[in-house]
Amino acid sequence: MDAEEILRGIKPLVGEVTAIRTVQETCPCEDYADAYVTEVNVKCASKVIKVLDSSFPRDSAQPLSHLRRFAKHNQVPEYLRPVLLREGSSPAQTIFVLISPPLPDIDSLQNVLSPFAPPGTPAGDQLAFHTVRVPLQPPLTTIQADAWSQTMWPVVFNPSAPRAMIAPPPQILSRARDFIQPKAGRYLALAQRVAEEAEQSGLGRGVGAVVVDPDLEAQFDDEETDNHWSDAVVAVAGDGRYSRAAVSEPGPNPASQTYNPDHEGGPELHALMRVVELISSKRREDRPGSSSTGRPCLNHLETYFLSQSDVTCSDDDSEDPSPVPEKYQKTETSSHAIHKHPEPAEDDTPTTARIRPRSQGGYLCTDLDVYLTHEPCICCCMGLLLSRFRAVIYPRSGRMVSGGLASEPVVKPVPVEEETSATENQDPKTDDTQHQREYYGLHWRKELNWRALGFEFVEETEAETETKEATETVAFHA
C-alpha cells in the first residue's frame, strides 16, 4: 500500500494518557531515626539554634529541613504531652527543641544547652532529653505530613522543593500530559503500523517506535491536525532483531513464536535503539567520515519518511497535498547515501531540518518524545535516558514482563457483576499475577543522572483486548 495512504488511513487509538508513577512514589522509603527533645527557655530560642548548629554540624546529605526545630506547647504531639509537659511549665516561658540525627552524646548536649534551661531551673539541674522517632525523608503529601506530626514530631510539607528527586514537578508533568494527550493516539497507531511492517518483513518482532519533536508539533494549530499530524514525526523505526540472520521468507519470522536467545539479535536492533541511531546518523551528517554503524535495511515506512524528504528536494512541490511537508529532511543512512541538496522552497516557510544537525545545535535526542508499541526493555529504557528524550509513551496493553518503566502492577477494576462474591473483592486483582516481574520505573529514579517523563496510554477498549493479549504473548525484550 502507498505510504501516504497508510498515513491517511491511520485510525488513532482512543484513550487516556496517564503518568507512570515513580518508584519513589510507589515504594516510598520510609526511614526513621531517633532524635532528642528537650525543653528550653523560649526567649533563647534563636541562641539555641545557633549554638546547636555550630557545635554539631548537620549532615548536608540529610538536611532534614522538613522537621520543625521547635514545638510550642500546643504543637507537641498528643502522645508526648504526658512526657514533656511538666507541671508549672508555661508556653510563655518555654519551648521544646528537637536535636535531630546524627545525635551528639548527651554530655556535650548538656554542656551546650544548660545556659538555656527553662527559667527557674535550679542551678546544677540536668536538662532532660527525651527520645522521639522522626522521619528522615520529607513528607510526600499533606496527609503524610499530618500523620507524622501527630505520631512523631511536627513536620512541614513543602510541595515543591524536595520532590524533584522523587517525582517530576507536578506542573511540568501535567503540562506535558495535556500537550501529549490530543495526538498520542495517532502516534501510537502509527507506531503500530511500523511494528506491523517490521513483523511482516520477517526482520523483526512487531515492535515500533515513533519519535516526535514537540517544538514542531506546537507550530501547527488544532485545525491542521488532521492533515499535518505527521509533520512533527522526526523518525520512525521498527524492530530489526532478525536482520542479522539470512533473510527468511516474507511474513512473520518463525523465531518470534518463542524466545530463543540465538535468534534475538540484540538490544541495538530493538525499535528504540534503531530510531535513536537513525536520528544520530542525521545529526552527524555534517561531519564527513564520522562513524556510520551498520544498520539493517530499512522498512517501508522508515524508508518512506526518509525518501519523502528526497522528493521535497525537487522543485515539484506544487499541488501534492502530501501529509508529509516539504520541510521534512531526509535522514541519510548507509543504504541511502545519495544526497541531493534541497532547493529552498519559495512558497513555503523556510526549510528547517526536522532533525537538526550537530552544527545547528542538534544534540542526541534532547527534548524529543518517543512513542512505542511496547514497554521497552531495561536496556532500551536506559538508552532513552542516555539519549535525553523528554518523554516516553507506550500503551498499557503493551506492558512487558521484561520492561523497565512500569513502577507498579495494574490494579484491575473489579467487574460489577462479580461484586456479590465477597472474596474476589477483598484484594485488588493485579494484571501481572501470572508473570512475576520487577518494577524498575527507570524513567524517573533518584539515583540516575538523567530522567524522562513516563506515560502509559490506557485504551478505552482495554478491558476487551486484555485477556487476548495475556494468553498470546511470548515474553521477550521489546
Binding site: 540465538d262 538490544p267 541495538e268 542526541l364 531495561i378 529504557c381 512475576q436 540516575l448
Partner: protein, 190 residues
C-alpha cells in the same frame, strides 16, 4: 600503582591482568579522541574477539558505549551463541543499559575496574546481572586495576565538554591523585 597490577595478578592470574590492560588501552584511546574514557574487550577461547571504546560524541548517539561497539565487532565474525562463552573486561562497571544488554546477550562473566556510582547496573545502582529476568544471571568481579580506571576518568572529567549545549567552565579543577578515601566518581557512562 604497581600495587594494583600485582593485585590484579593475584585476583585472577596473569591473563586477567593482560586482558584488563588491553581494556585500559582502549580507554586511553577514547581519552585521546575526546570520548568518555571507557574501554573494553571481549575474550572468547582466550582470544580477544572484540574491543570497544565509548563513541557517543563522535556518533552523536548516547547509546554507543564501549560494550556495544565490542559486541558489534565480535558479531561480524562469530555467531551470537559464542557470547555465551565469552568474558568481558571493561574499565568501568557497565551502566544500566549495558548491564541489561550483556544479560540479554548472555555474557559468561564480566570483569571491571572501578564502580560506577551514577549509572552502574551490576551492583552500584541496580543489580541487573542477578535480578530476575528472562535470561540467566552472570557473575561480575570488580576492582581489577581499580586505580588506573579511576585515573582515566579523572583525567577526562577535568576537561570541559565543549559538545554540551552549555559547557561548564572547569578552570579551577585539579587532577586528584589520592586514593586514600573512597572517591566519589563523576558521572561515567560506559
Amino acid at each position: 600503582m604497581s600495587d594494583n597490577i600485582s593485585s590484579g595478578l593475584q585476583e585472577g592470574g596473569p591473563q586477567h591482568a593482560y586482558f584488563m590492560k588491553q581494556a585500559l588501552r582502549m580507554g586511553e584511546k577514547a581519552l585521546e579522541t575526546g570520548e568518555t574514557p571507557v574501554g573494553c574487550i571481549l575474550v572468547y577461547e582466550n582470544k580477544i574477539v572484540g574491543s570497544g571504546m565509548n563513541d557517543t560524541n563522535k556518533s552523536m548517539n548516547g547509546t554507543r558505549h564501549a560494550e556495544f561497539i565490542a559486541i558489534e565487532e565480535m558479531l561480524q565474525t562469530y555467531p551470537r551463541s559464542a557470547l555465551y562463552s565469552t568474558d568481558l573486561y571493561v574499565t568501568v562497571e557497565p551502566c544500566v543499559m549495558c548491564a541489561s544488554a550483556l544479560r540479554q546477550y548472555r555474557i559468561r562473566k564480566v570483569y571491571f575496574g572501578c564502580g560506577n556510582e551514577r549509572f552502574g547496573g551490576t551492583g552500584s545502582i541496580l543489580s541487573l546481572h542477578s535480578d530476575p529476568s528472562l535470561d540467566p544471571p552472570y557473575p561480575v568481579q570488580g576492582g581489577l586495576f581499580h586505580q588506573e580506571a579511576i585515573m582515566l576518568l579523572r583525567r577526562f572529567y577535568i576537561q570541559e565538554n565543549e559538545k554540551a549545549p552549555k559547557p561548564r567552565p572547569k578552570k579551577h579543577r585539579e587532577l586528584k591523585m589520592d586514593f586514600n578515601k573512597e572517591v566519589s566518581l563523576p558521572s561515567p557512562t560506559p
